[in-house]
């Protein structure tokens, strides 16, 4: 409160600016829905994460060898894996968001949304060609063979220790249908 009083006495414009920012930040947190840059939620793993009995992951095989996380820094590993994770769900994610919220809210603001700026058509073959060059620059080596597989691994607990058993493997094209 003291802070706002000081700001009010020093400069009315900045007082109003900071006050609106603070109120909007609280409102955005209270609403828990869509955010507006630069006002975000900072949940940081606050949602309850339920126990699972199986996990799905992608294994990237380059020239016959599976890429291993510890060959790369954390940033580089994210750089390798994020595109694979995001690409498969991109069409559904972007298109659902567009039809569910974006179109409706922008229309309410009298803005016409050009679908091409929001919607992405998934093309796994094009992605794989791009990804081959992309990985090649990261590992600084030519790639003759690229294979991405989606692995489903079953979790079992033996004497309090979790074990992983691969129960299904799908090719990227199959997994990305």
């Amino acid at each position: 409160m003291m802070y706002f009083q000081q700001l009010y006495r020093t400069n009315k414009f900045w007082f109003l600016f900071v006050l609106i920012f603070a109120l909007c930040q609280i409102f955005i947190n209270y609403k828990q829905g869509i955010v507006i840059t630069p006002l975000y939620h900072y949940g940081m793993y606050s949602k309850k994460v339920e126990s699972i009995d199986s996990i799905e992951l992608y294994a990237v095989k380059i020239n016959g060898k599976v890429l291993q996380p510890f060959q790369f820094s954390a940033q580089e590993w994210d750089k390798l894996m994020l595109p694979v994770h995001q690409y498969c769900k991109i069409e559904k994610h972007n298109n659902d968001l567009f039809s569910k919220d974006i179109k409706r809210i922008l229309n309410r603001l009298y803005l016409t949304a050009d679908t091409s700026n929001f919607i992405v058509q998934k093309q796994p073959e094009t992605f794989l060609n791009w990804y081959k060059n992309y990985v090649s620059t990261i590992i600084s080596a030519p790639i003759t063979n690229l294979e991405i597989n989606k692995i489903t691994s079953h979790l079992t607990e033996e004497n309090g220790v979790i074990k992983f058993t691969t129960v299904a493997t799908k090719s990227f094209n199959e997994a990305c249908k």
Binding site: V18, T37, K47, L57, F70, A74, D114, F127, I162
Partner: protein
């Protein structure tokens, strides 16, 4: 207390140093836009982003190496240009209002570049936009001409970081994460699935396995993080414990990197108002 211009100068220097240290870190990890070769975008739930997307600029950068290089140059050159303009003008005549108008104008340009760059960058598979908040807030503070307003706005950033941390703690209560004793074990399992399945024999995989298999210990880590976040409320009432908040936050950032493999250092510039005090910025 009369605030000296040195305070602003120290803040700008601090911001510039953190920005360029992170720039080097990102360059060597291939995180510049031109090193990312973006080929698709992932829409987030952000009204500002949707309005920005109407311009189609995010699409123009896809598979456009030259465009990405230009954006990298603009983004990474802005702080040093701002610093040099500030230093040059402040050296010549401290109280000239026109000089501060120029400094404000350069800050507005830097803010615009940062917003556009970060909007695009985080739409590609790179990093979360929340981590980049410091690069959007500090340029706003640099727009202020009057040193007293500048000081109050940096105090505002201090409150913002306190809110950031405290809200993270409150979210954990509101969304129930804190009441789940297997929360951290389950998070680690999802976060490190490739490590656990592809390289189960690696010492780090064994360490993570140990944490997953010891839910009491991993939950204690989660709980400690939440207690730290919630205890930041003290910062709203006194600056006496700022040093503990800084140390706690730095420890949190390092632990996040080590245990979660999430480098969240981009946010570290928000610590500047905790480190640089107006009282110690005496020499003009």
């Amino acid at each position: 207390m009369q605030i000296k211009e040195t305070y602003r100068s120290n803040m700008i220097v601090g911001y510039t140093i953190i920005f360029y240290v992170l720039m080097v870190y990102k360059y060597f990890n291939g995180m510049f836009l031109f090193q990312m070769h973006p080929s698709f975008f992932y829409t987030r739930e952000d009204l500002f982003t949707w309005i920005f997307m109407l311009t189609g600029f995010h699409k123009w950068l896809l598979n456009n190496q030259l465009g990405c290089i230009i954006m990298d140059i603009l983004f990474y050159a802005a702080p040093i240009i701002f610093y040099l303009v500030y230093r040059q003008l402040i050296k010549n005549q401290k109280s000239n209002l026109n000089h501060f108008n120029i400094i404000s104008l350069v800050a507005v340009v830097m803010l615009s570049i940062n917003v556009v760059y970060i909007q695009c960058y985080t739409m590609y598979p790179t990093n979360s936009i929340e981590a980049h908040i410091a690069w959007m807030l500090f340029p706003i503070v640099f727009v202020a001409k009057d040193i007293n307003v500048f000081k109050l706005l940096t105090d505002g950033i201090r409150y913002f970081l306190l809110f950031f941390l405290m809200s993270a703690g409150i979210w954990k209560i509101a969304q129930g994460g804190i009441f789940n004793t297997h929360q951290m074990s389950n998070i680690l399992l999802v976060q490190h699935k490739e490590i656990l399945v592809i390289t189960p024999q690696h010492w780090y995989a064994q360490f993570i396995q140990f944490l997953i298999n010891t839910p009491k210990l991993s939950y204690a880590l989660y709980l400690a993080g939440t207690v730290f976040e919630l205890s930041c409320i003290i910062g709203f009432f006194t600056k006496k414990y700022d040093i503990f908040i800084v140390l706690g936050w730095l420890f949190f950032l390092c632990s996040n990197h080590f245990i979660m493999r999430i480098p969240y250092y981009e946010i570290s510039a928000l610590l500047l108002p905790f480190i640089i005090s107006a009282e110690n910025s005496k020499t003009d």
